[in-house]
Symmetry: C2
């Protein structure tokens, strides 16, 4: 059974704090193993990559067969049923339309001192997209990771995905093609992260590596962070739903379960101001669990990490939600806009009963790569900005240097950086000589 909490009970605060502190993922101690694999790929390049792929994926590759050929992709893509292709195309279109609006603007202005200031955004040259194999190999994730890179203007977009025993999901290849991925390699794990960082055979180094992965992939990304850019270290996923008593309990139950079915360490939390609705929704979850295909996983998640919380009122619900800082937040209440205005920390907000979170996973438009495990306190979902960087620009006129240069000299001297001070002073002296010459 999930945790039931009521704000009426005296131990509410302690129990809510315990829920927040609960650890949802075992520490997989794979850091050393990931480090060894990275060092091996860095030192031996494509040879290491091929050996590791044989060991982990039972697949014997050569430098020539590391990449999917265009013909292989053509053949796989041709097997996708038209309905699935159409759905993927609609998703790709909507995701691209949303992300195009994220393209940032350059700025430039001249201030009163005569300094021209501003900044300019440019895309990274190349991005590497990691796609997990097996169960977690989602075509929707390919779209969500690749499209923002393409919209940003990334020149080369490389995808790595393990194909254990040679198995591949044709929809993943179709998604890669729709999203404009340039090359797809059949490698996974920490070895793929190493190849994308330092290059290995046909795999060239990327400037930025994004995409979800298992514990080895996460450990490898943490280690190469700084040599290349990375997106984030993804943890177990969560949904928080704030619902009033007027909602359909079955809809809310399905939304909770659509998180719980992802994996056993996923978390689904319902907060309501109506104790009767809390009971009805919990009962609806049990009813749906009886027949759900992935009921084993969903039941474990709901039992171990699920929570049903009766708050004092909807304002209190928003406060509690901010302490969770959920990845996904559904506001199924009469006035969701008013409630959303009170929320400060959430990866994505879904407003009203007609917006199940699953819409956001596929076709809504916003990105489904979102900050997990309370990191919405300080980070954002994946966006076009993750594939761009900003260069600041400054240009002093002689007058601007005369106006603000002396303060720079003073500060450089106070920091004992003489060359800094002299670099300004030499120019100021030239200006003074010029001014004297004019007199």
């Amino acid at each position: 059974m999930p945790v039931f909490l009521s704000a009426q009970e005296p131990d509410f605060e302690d129990r809510f704090a315990a829920l927040l502190a609960a650890k949802r993922e075992a520490d997989a101690d794979v850091d050393e193993a990931a480090a060894r694999i990275l060092a091996d790929v860095r030192a031996r390049g494509v040879d290491a990559l091929i050996e590791l792929t044989e060991r982990f994926d039972r697949l014997r590759l050569t430098p020539e067969t590391l990449a999917f050929s265009e013909e292989e992709i053509d053949r796989a893509v041709a097997r996708v049923p038209p309905e699935e292709r159409a759905a993927l195309e609609l998703a790709a279109e909507r995701i691209a339309a949303y992300h195009r609006r994220q393209l940032p603007r350059d700025e430039s202005w001249t201030d009163r001192a005569g300094a021209t200031l501003g900044w300019r955004w440019t895309p990274v040259d190349s991005a590497g997209l990691y796609v997990p194999g097996g169960l977690a190999s989602y075509p929707s994730s390919v779209l969500m990771n690749a499209i923002p890179a393409r919209v940003a203007g990334v020149r080369r977009l490389t995808m790595c995905a393990p194909t254990p025993d040679g198995q591949v999901n044709p929809l993943v290849l179709l998604a890669a093609r729709l999203a404009g991925v340039d090359e797809v390699f059949r490698v996974g794990g920490a070895q793929a992260i190493g190849a994308l960082t330092w290059g290995a055979g046909p795999i060239r180094p990327a400037d930025k590596i994004v995409g979800p992965g298992n514990a080895w992939v996460a450990a490898a990304k943490r280690r190469v962070f700084g040599t290349v850019g990375i997106d984030m270290i993804a943890g177990p996923s969560e949904i928080l739903i704030i619902a009033d008593g007027a909602q359909n309990p079955d809809w809310i139950a399905l939304d909770l379960l659509s998180q719980a079915e992802h994996d056993e360490s996923a978390q689904a939390i319902l907060i309501t101001d109506d104790p009767a609705f809390a009971r009805a929704a919990a009962a609806a979850v049990e009813a749906r669990l009886a027949t759900l295909e992935r009921r084993e996983i969903a039941r474990a998640s709901w039992r171990d990490f699920g929570a049903v919380i009766v708050a004092r009122d909807l304002d209190h619900a928003a406060e509690l939600s901010d302490r969770v800082a959920p990845e996904h937040l559904e506001l199924c209440v009469a006035d969701p806009d008013a409630l959303a205005a009170k929320v400060r920390h959430a990866g994505a907000i879904f407003l009203g009963a007609w917006t199940p979170e699953a819409i956001g996973d596929y076709v809504g438009g916003p990105n489904h790569v979102l900050p997990t495990a309370r990191s919405a306190r300080f980070s954002s979902g994946l966006s076009v900005l993750d594939f761009m960087k900003r260069t600041t620009i400054a240009r002093m006129s002689p007058g601007a240097l005369a106006a603000i240069g002396p303060a720079a000299r003073t500060l450089a001297q106070s920091e004992s950086l003489e060359a800094h001070s002299l670099s300004v002073a030499a120019r100021l002296e030239a200006l003074n000589r010029g001014a004297e010459g004019e007199e």
Copy 2:
């Protein structure tokens, strides 16, 4: 002597590649030591903090004396000479004015399907600012780290700075006050990062930790990344100057040395299209090195990592610069705007001979916390956005759900996520029943 390269020589490409690959920083193997300190602070809180501060900074504190009191700050600040105070105030004003322009806009729109989409930016609740002690304790860095946080709207801004043997730089405290820092603690090293991550005594946990530090601080930040947000892992700093033959060699020499004097692993590179200017600038560096206060440091940096490169022409210079992706780029040429348009990767660009890089360190306005060690390929300098996060928003009308829901169902089914599919289907069925009812 620094490296001299000419594009005319047959081994140019190899030697330039070697320059790019040169390692400028010894691997300090402090990761385990940092991990032990973090674990200690996490487990024992303020007791560990006090013990570690006694051991590393030879300073015996209590939970009550960990923070500077307002009176202590008042007394320190009163000792700052008026000229330095005025310079710091001018810098703070200009930095704030520049960063206020970075405040992002929220967006919201309704598309043809009837989906209302958008996003909203909110500040992080709390930020921790690390300030190194000793030589690297720069008041300008306090302004550069704290002001963007304040402009973003961060509610609580906590600063940690070690005070070895009780020593403190009054200008650092004045900068903290001018920038609106809320509290200042006398702790440093990995232990300060632990305290800012999990809290320790009077130090409360922060959501985001920024600021430069030594190898222990960098290792600790890398380890807590994910539990809190961090800015970047700073490496040794560099400048690249592209200058034509019409420049003043002494000015360029001083600009090169203003990077070299920072520390022995700093890097200063001059690229010019004029061999005679290359020789003149190198001679000017030697002349200035004879008398520079920090000549020991600057000479070691220039000797070990300095480079003077004669490019085929200015376009070639821009190409080479992009391969370096320098932290600081000065364009001292007749038409710096035209050349800047050809540059893709740089942390900050300084245009024209009247804009020495030192202006950007203090009073220009743009941030001086910039991506080092080639990371301008994928990352940006510190900005207001580092202290904010974006929540995506989606709201479906019933019509929008009817239009795009079926595609979401199809994709959920193809990913074998039944609850996802059912959460959409249950609502679509209600819509269909409604439509039938109307018939």
